[in-house]
Amino acid sequence: MRRGQRLISDVAPMVPATAGPQAAPPQAALPEPFASWFASRGWRPHAHQLALLGEVAAGRDALLIAPTGGGKTLAGFLPSLVDLASRAPEHKAAATIHTLYVSPLKALATDIARNLATPIEEMGLPIRLETRTGDTPPSRRARQRVMPPDILLTTPEQIALMLSHQGAAELFGQVKCVILDELHALASSKRGDLLALDLARLRTLSPGLTAIGLSATVARPSELAAFLVPHQGATATRLAEIVVAAGGAKADIAILRSEAELPWAGHSARYALPEIYEAIKAHRMSLMFVNTRSQAEMLFHELWRHNDANLPIALHHGSLDVAQRRKVEAAMVAGKLRAVVCTSTLDLGIDWGDVDLVVNVGAPKGASRLAQRIGRANHRLDEPSKALLVPANRFEVVECQAALEAAEEGAQDTPSSRPGALDVLAQHVLGTACASPFDVDDLYREVTSAAPYQGLKRETFDQVVEFVATGGYALANYERYAKLKRTPEGILRVAHPRIAQQYRLNVGTIVEAPMLRVRLAPLKGGALKPANVLAPGRILGEVEEYFIEQLAPGDTFVFAGEVLRFEGLRETDAIVTRAHASDPKVPAYEGGKFPLSTYLADRVRRLLAEPRSWSRLPDQVSDWLRLQADISVVPGPDEILVETFPRGNKHYLVCYPFEGRLAHQSLGMLLTRRFERARAAPLGFVANEYALAIWGLNDMGEMVRNGRLDLGRLFDEDMLGDDLDAWLAESSLMKRSFRVCAIISGLIERRHPGQEKTGRQMTVSSDLIYDVLRQHEPDHILLKAAFADAATGLIDVGRLNLFLKRISGRIRHIALRQVSPLAVPVMLEIGRESVPGEASETLLREAVEELIAEALSGNAARQA
């Protein structure tokens, strides 16, 4: 799938011998044959490559921070290559691994392997290098355990898998170096937690190993540096050495200015299509990033309608069939495309060709995310990357401006590290036991040496171990089914070999939403007939079951750049036919919706609060803000503006927390409960990234004025107490979080493709388990883990909590007679976005009532 000619920019973006800015004095000399090989290519190593070599030679763990194109990967491998090259010539292939390279993407591992092969060959180094990913055939995997290569390139999941085998101690006993690539993308996630635990395990097996982290620029490098070193005790902080590469040329970023009227709401950016198309025409190869797959589909569809010159424009996102994606990637690399519309699937690591323009459509959501995307253009340090930001609506203009200013300052907002997840720990405990029996005290010491688990209490750890062993239920009746048994010496061992087999089928922290294949049926329109069940249609890709569940046969939607008609389901296939609808639905994909980062939100609030800075915004936007200042007020940076106004026969309350849609939805759920108690008769709410609107039958503005509604009490932090608890009991979001934890922790098994047909008796719905467990043991460790996830994820109450603290005593209420300019965007979302379906009782009743009405009118018609 890949090519040879791009080797230079992949592994060896060296400075030409004449280049100036990188010419710092070398920290370590490059030994032979490396020095000659570099010279033969007319290259000189980067200062940071030599610095890293020096640190590792001295046995110190190190973190390299370099912008895209900084020769990170080769820097990471140099210490290992140098060490391996210096082995005595009579060195025999040992049954151990020397260097482990871990990447978040298997494609990246494969790519790097191919590109490292060249220097190894050209220098004639006696080094064996192999990859191991989910795609590696079982026979090769088995062989790798017996006869491992010197350098193994792999993924966190594969490491966990290998560590669970009985031969792990021999296989990893001599590891000298572990290279963690794209560490910024792994840390602070469950995969990062698993990786941290595996690193701690590897250190136990090979106490002398050195860890190298490779990362893009991040907000807090020390957190990544802490990830790489072993810790002792909860308070002492040790850090890896940090090597920072010289920054590249500043990016050339602009916000697209359009003649068209800026939309008030929506995410389509349709208004800017003529300008986007012109930009594509003016560049060799453009990469167009959007935030969601539905945006990608829509934009691709629209671009082709504008594509008078028939430019080769392709689509790339995670739901498309793999073969289709590979085709697009190959065409990019071969320079056959002028533009690719893509989601974050192309965010990471691999560079796909000679991109000279990055177009970011929609809100950037975070300063670091934007920086990494922009880095996709121009993989050379000394040339500026060129980027065009295309806001899709007025608020996004402000957000783009804030992100642009952050980029100019080089500000970053990567997420902070958080305590390691307990479901991941449970998986690790079982994996450890599968390899060999363990002593609980030793394992506790090992686990807490990993940065994410440094603060883990012994009590919690013991609960996790008990959970793995027997389920950890207060009603202790599973002793006889225990997975782990305690020997008289206090050692825990796996009770049955079958348990290790089960573990290996369920390893990993990536739990995909259940997916359905989208299969194009050859028949045109019409109903799906049983005779066509096996119609050999082409597979277009996969979508979440969740989305298909919302479609009725006959509905149309856009997927893989085509308008499709949903015909029905056959096992795990959603059968579709081609359709020509003018107004197709767009899949409301769950994935890919990033919340606005706290940092960027803060910048947006400050930009709004400072009228002098409005001159940096397009006239349409500054006029809009001035109008808001006339009619209502523009909120200050530390206060929350609450507007109330009547409209139609309803009353509205709109507030502007700027905390992202997820936190706003939670706030909406909780506030409507409180409104109900205050007899404000709320009817519904809608949230976007910036604001929340609640509507009801009673005049909430009047209720505030006459003291029947106390806004301070309404927005009080205690909302996160009982109200939250009551909501969570039924929340489908909470159930989703629980399902993920139940799978990762090994409580229930993953669904494997093809299992659906036979596996019905073997599963219990995690929703049913959630209900039962919550009723009988609300403090169970798995419920705690699920809540911790939801609090920072789907329901984002962590952020809500900070918000409520921030605005306490700073609520500014403005009663208006009509909708304010600032409120228009969120008001336009009403009806477009439905309130998440927690109110299903009402809907059921409606279904029946509508039926009565219809039945009665039907009777009336007949009587008439």
Binding site: G471, A552, I748, L773, L843, L844, V848
Partner: protein, 241 residues
């Protein structure tokens, strides 16, 4: 798109009804998932799947063991509300016959108390072909009351006047972009298939092929279980999974 056509409506308006007719007998579906036959003072439940948690634990999935208690407590609530003189469990009352012996002492006590002062029938299912004496009650393969046969698996006979379990029917409808999937009583007025009662019992969509031969499609109704009410929904409104 999914409008109910008046000519497909059953005789009575399909709502505000508290009763469903099975072969001419009035029965009351309860929101808890049980069916109450007032004329016979008989309460029917199906597919309790007691000890399903333990059955899974034996296979290495240590799911919470509280399902038996939850199921029995729910059943106790219905029995206290209705005070029937007869209870019939329509099979698969235990997830595995062998596990009936292992019922926790407290759960067994709970069950015994429920059985006091009333007739209790266990109809055998495919999961529990036999039951030990310790669980009390009368064990049988079918039971016929007033010409209505109570059995576990629905029979092949298309016009059979029967109430069965086994299939765990659920129904799905879509309203305003939200999808609701609930356990349901499925009936065409002749035959009725009960929803599963057990805390860990899953469900099968009533539009699945397995239900195909059982009902006259145009008379199919799904009585969907709500929190406090049961909602009769016309077959034409239902969605497949």
């Amino acid at each position: 798109m999914l409008r109910a056509k008046p000519d497909l409506m059953p005789e009575s308006a399909p709502t505000l009804r508290a009763h469903v007719l099975v072969s001419g007998h009035e029965m009351r579906p309860l929101a808890a998932g049980a069916l109450y036959w007032e004329a016979e003072d008989t309460l029917l439940v199906a597919d309790l799947h007691l000890e399903k948690g333990a059955a899974f634990a034996a296979l290495g999935m240590l799911i919470p063991p509280y399902d038996t208690r939850t199921t029995l407590q729910r059943l106790g609530k219905v029995i206290r509300a209705v005070e029937p003189s007869r209870v019939v469990a329509l099979g698969d009352s235990f997830h595995r016959s062998e596990l009936a012996e292992n019922l926790a002492a407290e759960d067994l006590k709970l069950l015994t108390r429920l059985q006091q002062g009333r007739e209790w029938y266990w109809i055998c299912g495919n999961h529990d072909p036999f039951l030990p004496p310790c669980v009390g009650g009368t064990v049988c393969t079918t039971l016929t009351i007033c010409g209505v046969t109570l059995r576990h698996e629905p029979s092949d006979n298309e016009l059979s006047r029967e109430i069965a379990g086994h299939l765990h029917p659920v129904a799905r409808i879509a309203r305003r972009g939200a999808v609701i999937r609930r356990r349901c009583f499925a009936t065409d007025g002749n035959r009725l298939v009960m929803p599963a009662f057990g805390a860990y019992a899953g469900g099968l969509n009533v539009l699945d092929d397995a239900f195909g031969p059982l009902f006259l499609r145009h008379r199919l109704e799904a009585w969907m279980m709500g929190r406090t009410d049961v909602y009769p929904v016309l077959g034409s409104l239902l969605l497949p999974d």
